[in-house]
Subunit: 204 residues, 2 copies
DNA sequence: AGCACCTTTATACAGATGTCTAATAGTAAA
DNA sequence: TTTACTATTAGACATCTGTATAAAGGTGCT
């Protein structure tokens, strides 16, 4: 089989890697453990990835590519800012934060802290988000008539990115106190701004 | 000697643990590596800590105790809100974020994600900060005359905590774009609020 | 000196870990 | 069927890892 590169075993190993990152963290990954989780002979790690570091790197790449795809999709949508915001926030629902996706993201991050190759890739992803957000917020703040002298776009973008990262971090750490309140507060403020822009749609 | 518990070797092992967490991450810690970094026979790990997990746990405890001490000190100071804010922010200067302290903090966090015993301790620290911030912000927002209906204290506290965590996370990941701008923006807004409260001190 | 006590060392050992090899099973074309 | 190639397997190897033990070193006290 294998049109390009993707025998079942290969994919199984990548999937198992993600699964174990979520369940046990990157410190617990070994060739044999991953292979066992994948239900595959441990020799195949060498066969497909030559070594463990490379398997991790490919898993990392597959993950970041998925992120890039999300970015692309979100960027392409021709919807209002508040809709984009809500879509993005729903995407990272609090329940999800505690579950797999957020954990995987943070484990990937913490892997990268000590591996320069991964670190660069991570920075690309970061820059990607920043680009999208900067563009979206530039338009939105203009629409809402917000003083970008007093609230520079890059500062606002940083605030949004960092508080989202922080939400993930806290949630994985087991704390979600105030998270809902925060997201509600922001949504309400956005709604107010939206209504002020276009008084017709006023609801409540 | 050892009045209570603290032969040089014992402390050296704890110090080495922190050092290696900063330089290589928790995945790279082994009994022999830590002992070597501490310049100490690896048998002493067993002698003082019985096993590696316990050494990590004690290093973790020592670290969180240091955090609690910081909290206590900050809380005890009888200074204005804006001064507290600036002190706290200076404490976590951007340059420092990239260096040891922030890295250590995040490595401790990511260790805790996969170890329930540590996770609880971490949540205590988190609650500690939240308590202090909640108290400080309750007073500050009252002083500044901010509508706590529209901006609930716990939402604001969450925003502040999460964006600070996010700053750390991004900085360790190698990105500090917009960080200065964000901190400046906040500081200016605080200064405005401060001036509005007490027009006498108006400066600029 | 002898003695007791805490600290340190060197070494041992079973099991895990990363890497590698040689043999086998499977599959599709000739 | 034979052939050629890919996929998979079981096992071997040196090294690393956590843990344990027994002996030695050091220090102060009697």
């Amino acid at each position: 089989m294998s049109t390009a590169q993707g025998t079942d075993s290969r994919k199984a190993l990548l999937d198992a890697t993600e699964c174990l990152l979520i369940e046990r963290g990157h410190a617990a990954l070994t060739v044999r453990v991953v292979a066992k989780e994948a239900g595959v002979n441990h020799g195949l790690v060498r066969y497909y990835f030559t070594n463990l570091d490379n398997l991790l790197l490919e898993a990392f790449d597959r993950f970041t590519n998925r992120l890039f795809e999300r970015q692309r999709v979100l960027y392409a949508q021709d919807i209002s800012f508040i809709e984009k915001w809500r879509t993005a926030m729903d995407d990272l629902e609090i329940e999800d934060r505690e579950a797999g996706y957020g954990k995987l993201w943070l484990e990937m991050q913490s892997m990268a802290w000590n591996k320069p190759e991964l670190k660069e890739r991570l920075q690309e992803v970061n820059r990607g988000w920043r680009t999208i957000l900067t563009d979206a917020f530039t338009h939105a703040m203009n629409d809402y008539g917000i003083d970008t002298q007093r609230f520079p776009v890059d500062a606002v973008v940083s605030l949004v990115m960092t508080f989202n990262f922080g939400l993930q971090l806290e949630a994985i750490g087991g704390t979600t106190d105030g998270h809902e309140a925060l997201l509600e507060m922001i949504d309400q403020q956005l709604q107010l701004a939206e209504n002020a822009k276009d008084p017709v749609t006023h609801q409540e």
